[in-house]
Structures are given as C-alpha cells and as structure tokens.
C-alpha cells in the first residue's frame, strides 16, 4: 500500500482512552499530517505513555476510531502496522548479547520475509542511523556494555532503521546529555521535514518542544486536552495550567524561553 501522501498519516476521531481509574483523554480528535512534529505534554501520570501505546495499537480504547494511513488501526495486523508505525518505548531491555549493528538491524524485521536476509542496503541503513546518532564507533560493541545514553540512542537507531512513516517517541531525551538531546531532535526533525514523516513525542522539556514541535497536544488531566499549533498553544498561561505551577515566558529579544518560576518564599 502506498502512503496516501495528501491525507493524514495518523488520525484520531473522538477517541476516548482510559487506564484503570485514570481518564487519559475524552473524545480526542487530531490528525497528524506528513511533516508535522507533535509534542505531547502533561504532568506525571496523566497518561502520555498510555496515549502513545493506544496510538500504536497496544492499548484498547473505549470508543472512537484511529486510522493509520487511512485504514482503521484495529483491523490491521501487527505485521501490517510495523512497517508504517514504530515506537521508541521508555525503557529498552536487551536480553541477549549482540553488537550494536545487529541490534539496530532488528529494525528491518518488519520489512523482510521470513526466509530473506538483511541486504547490503539494510546494513548501510543501520550504519547510517548509528553514525547519525553518534554511535558509529560503537557498531561492533556489545549492546550490554553501553551507558544509559548510548543505550537510549541505540534504541532510537533501531526505530530509524525500522523507518516507519509514523514515529511515536516516549521521552526520547531521557538519559541524554544536552548535546545529545539536541542531536537526536535534529535527526528526528530532519526525518519528519525532509521525508514527509510524522512524529508524536511525549516529553517534559517545554523549551525543546517549543523549538522542535510544529504542533502540541496538552493533556490536562481528567480527560481534558488541547491540541493545535505550537505557536498558539504553548503560552505561559496554558503551561501554568497544565503543570499546576507558575511558568514564565522569558524573552531576551533573540529567543523566548519558558522558565519554571517556583513559588516565591517569604
């Protein structure tokens, strides 16, 4: 199936999601178009991960419909979903020893038949993804011997090698130093912009969201939500309401930055 280039890659119509007693979203509707980079913001425990899992078809939603490239997600098999939608989960466990290149190559799995082996092009993709994320020198290193940040970038490399049109990212900047946070967001931003993909990313760094995301979804709790272009929604007022603490917009004339103001002490 060719991607319907004009329509949304992922569309939600009046989707309600809950996990246990927590209502994550009520009647959530949004459409993620090619080239859009969505940020999902919300306080701890509001259900960002559950939302992403729902979008990946791994958590049942109450009602509404999710469409992946114009087809209802619920009717697609995992085998049909995987080449089109991938997700970077919050934690990655490596059960068995393999080197980084082999680990990244696992991302080609949904594109290969049972009997076929990874081609030279697949290997080149894995190398390229590792290099892009600054792991080029570690290609032959065991995935068991990586630091937290390296392991995080390896998981992202696997997703890039999987190369789906819809990238779901659960706090991709976890464990990363500032330079690497910027590196991976640049890489992701390029993929979204230049290759017509869409990314939906849960994260806590408001300023990175302001910088990289074209759109944001704010999960306010109790199923309430706001979705729209970043420029409209990412304001000090909305953020203060979202996180239930005082957040100020600081503008030095070159860039606007949100700052956690804290409670003034007497």
């Amino acid at each position: 199936m060719e991607a319907a280039t004009s329509g949304p890659l992922l569309a939600l119509e009046q989707v309600s999601i809950r996990i246990g007693p927590v209502v994550v979203a009520n009647d959530l509707s949004l459409a993620a178009l090619p080239g859009q980079f969505w940020g999902v913001l919300g306080p701890n425990g509001v259900g960002k991960t559950t939302l992403l899992k729902t979008l990946a078809g791994l958590h049942p939603h109450c009602h509404g419909q999710i469409q992946l490239e114009g087809r209802p997600l619920a009717t697609l098999s995992r085998r049909e979903i995987a080449p089109r939608l991938g997700m970077l989960t919050q934690h990655t466990r490596y059960a068995f020893d393999a080197n980084c290149e082999e680990t990244a190559l696992v991302g080609r799995h949904p594109h290969l038949q049972a009997w076929s082996r990874e081609s030279r092009a697949d290997r080149a993709m894995a190398r390229e993804a590792l290099t892009e994320l600054g792991l080029g020198d570690l290609a032959k290193r065991s995935c068991m011997q990586l630091s937290g940040g390296e392991s995080r970038r390896l998981a992202l490399a696997t997703l890039l090698v999987q190369d789906p049109a819809v990238l779901l990212l659960d706090e991709p900047t976890n464990h990363l130093d500032p330079a690497n946070q910027v590196t991976i967001l640049n890489v992701l931003g390029r993929r979204v912009r230049d290759q017509g993909k869409t990314a939906i990313m849960a994260l806590h760094e408001v300023n990175l969201a302001a910088c990289y995301c074209s759109h944001v979804l704010l999960l306010l709790g109790d199923g309430q939500w706001l979705a729209g272009p970043t420029a409209e929604l990412l304001t000090a007022r909305h953020l203060s309401r979202l996180y239930r603490c005082r957040i100020r917009l600081v503008d030095d004339g070159q860039q606007k930055v949100f700052a956690l103001a804290g409670e003034p002490q007497r």
Binding site: A56, L58, S77, R78, R79, I81, A82, P83, G86, M87, T89, T92, R93, Y94, A95, F96, D97, A98, E102, V106, G107, H109, P110, L112, A114, W115, R117, S142, M144, Q162
Partner: protein
C-alpha cells in the same frame, strides 16, 4: 573466530563423534571398515542406531533449550523447566512399576509429556492479561508436582524395577534405537524453525518490542512454546530425562556464534548432537561391561566445561 571455521569445526565434530561411537564400545575398538562380519553387525546394528539416537536427542534438547530461553527470557530455562520431563517420567515410571509391558515406555513418556504440555498451555493462558511469568510459574509448579509423584513412585515401587527407573530418570540410551530416517523429521523441523529464527531475535527483546516490530507476540509465543515442547517430548521419549544438554549447549554456542538465532539454532543442534554422542559412547564404553546412564556423563563433562568457559567469558554479565 571466522564463521566458516566455526561451521567446519562443528561439522567435523559431528563426524568425529559418530566415527568414535561406531568404533568404540564395550566389545572393543574397531575401525568400521576393517571389521569382520560379526563386528560389522555390532557396528551397524547396535552402535550406529544408538549413535543416531544420541545425535537426534542431543540436537532436539539443545534446540528446545534455545527456544525455552528466549521464550521465557530467562537464561536459566532449559527444556524441562515447564515440567515436560516430569510428566514424561511419571508416566514412564508408572509403566515400569505396574509392568505395563504391552505399552512401550517411549509411548508412555510421550503421552506424559504431551499431557503436561497441554496442561501448561491451558492453565498458563489464564483469564486475565497474558504474561510470561504466569506460564513460567504454571510450568514450574507442575514440575514440582510431578517431582513429588516421581518420589512417591520410587518409594513405593518394587525394588526390581528401581534400577531401570533411576536410569530412565538420569537419561539412558540403552534401549534407544533409531534408524537414520529419524534424522529427516529433525532436519525438516530445523528448517522450519530456521524460518522463525529472526522472529526469535525479535521476541528476545520482549513482548512489547516484538509487537512493535510486527510480531503478534501472543500467537508467536504459543507457536514456539508448542514447537519447543514437542521437541522436548520427542527427546524425552527417546532417551529419558537427559540433563544439562538443553541448558549448557545453548549458552556455550551463544559464546561461540553469538545470540543471532539464525546461527545459534543450527550451531546448538550440531554441537548438542555431537556432545550427546560422545557422552553416550563414554557412558557405554569407558567402564567396560558396566554401563552408566548418559545423563551422569553429560553432567560430569558438561559442568566443568561450562564453568571453565563461563569463567573465561567476558561477554556474559
């Protein structure tokens, strides 16, 4: 180590082990091609079928061990962890105790193994969300139950059959005679599994990761569980509960060829087979007329070999 060297080495190892098994026995040492007629009959009617049985059993157990370890995401898992050998043992021992000579022991063992397999399958699925832990616990508890029954049978059973029962429990190839045709289903099964090998690599990353990479993990889990259990059931009915092969060989081969199941499964099959052939040859030849259960030899050779490699390995943490 270059991979060509590894594969050549493994194939040579299998050939040498079969040659050794044919040449050496309690009746003495003879090269098969220089043997007189009587010895040729010993070689081709006794030693070779038994060697093939050992080769098949070793391969089955090693492959089943690889599958169980990835299935349960647990390096301690072996083909018997879910109680399959226990079920087989209870049925086999009951047959021996009650003198049900009209039912062959392998058939009884296979029935017991299948029964356990179905029980774990039905009980392990549960009603709530599916989990590997539930399957593991179901199997381990069933295994403990079978273990108690085995002790009971041993305690109450007639002394006359005690020795054969103990041999069966430790694994014994004395009565196992397989023609070379048995290798055919094994090879076909391995071929089919090899098509699933990349899925196994993906499953090793956990359920969620597997689902995201296009494996409907639940169906794949049960599919591989059934294959692993069937392989184990076959092995157990051929040779009784031969220990250590299914635990040690997968780990050894992971140290040699890595964790990619496309290399690991065939390597484990070859090495597991050769290992059991050598162990069985020693068990029946090294102590003259007195034969040992092969399970004792696999442990006696396997444990120090494994500990040595584990000690020297930098890749296991």
């Amino acid at each position: 180590m270059s991979s060509r060297l590894v594969w050549t080495g493994l194939l040579v190892l299998v050939a040498i082990s079969l040659l050794l098994a044919c040449a050496w026995g309690s009746a003495g040492w003879v090269w098969p091609w220089t043997a007189d007629e009587a010895m040729q009959r010993v070689v081709f009617e006794l030693r070779l079928p038994r060697a093939i049985a050992a080769l098949t059993t070793g391969s089955l157990l090693a492959v089943a061990g690889c599958l169980m370890q990835v299935l349960l995401r647990n390096p301690l898992a072996d083909p018997y962890v879910l109680g399959i050998s226990g079920g087989a043992a209870v049925f086999a021992l009951l047959g021996m105790t009650l003198g049900l000579s009209f039912l062959p022991v392998p058939l009884l063992a296979f029935t017991g193994a299948l029964l356990t397999m179905v029980a774990v399958f039905v009980l392990g699925r549960g009603s709530g969300p599916w989990s590997t832990t539930r399957v593991l616990l179901t199997g381990v508890v069933l295994a403990a139950g079978w273990g108690a029954l085995i002790s009971l049978i041993l305690a109450l059973g007639p002394d006359a059959s005690l020795r054969s029962m103990l041999f069966w429990l430790m694994g014994d190839l004395s009565y196992a005679q397989l023609s070379a045709w048995w290798l055919l289903p094994l090879l076909l099964g391995l071929g089919a599994l090899w098509l699933r090998a990349r899925s196994l690599n993906v499953l090793a990353g956990g359920q969620m990761q597997a689902a995201l990479l296009g494996e409907s993990s639940r169906e794949r889990f049960w599919e591989i569980y059934l294959i692993a259990s069937l392989l184990t059931a076959l092995a157990v009915s051929i040779a009784g509960a031969v220990g250590f092969v299914g635990l040690i060989v997968p780990h050894l081969m992971r140290l040699v060829v890595g964790a990619d199941h496309r290399r690991l499964l065939p390597a484990a099959a070859l090495f597991g087979g050769a290992f059991l052939v050598v162990a069985d040859t020693l068990a029946r030849s090294a102590f003259g007329a007195r034969q040992l259960p092969v399970g004792v030899l696999t442990a006696l050779i396997g444990v120090p070999l494994f500990l040595l490699l584990l000690h020297r390995a930098v890749r296991i943490r």
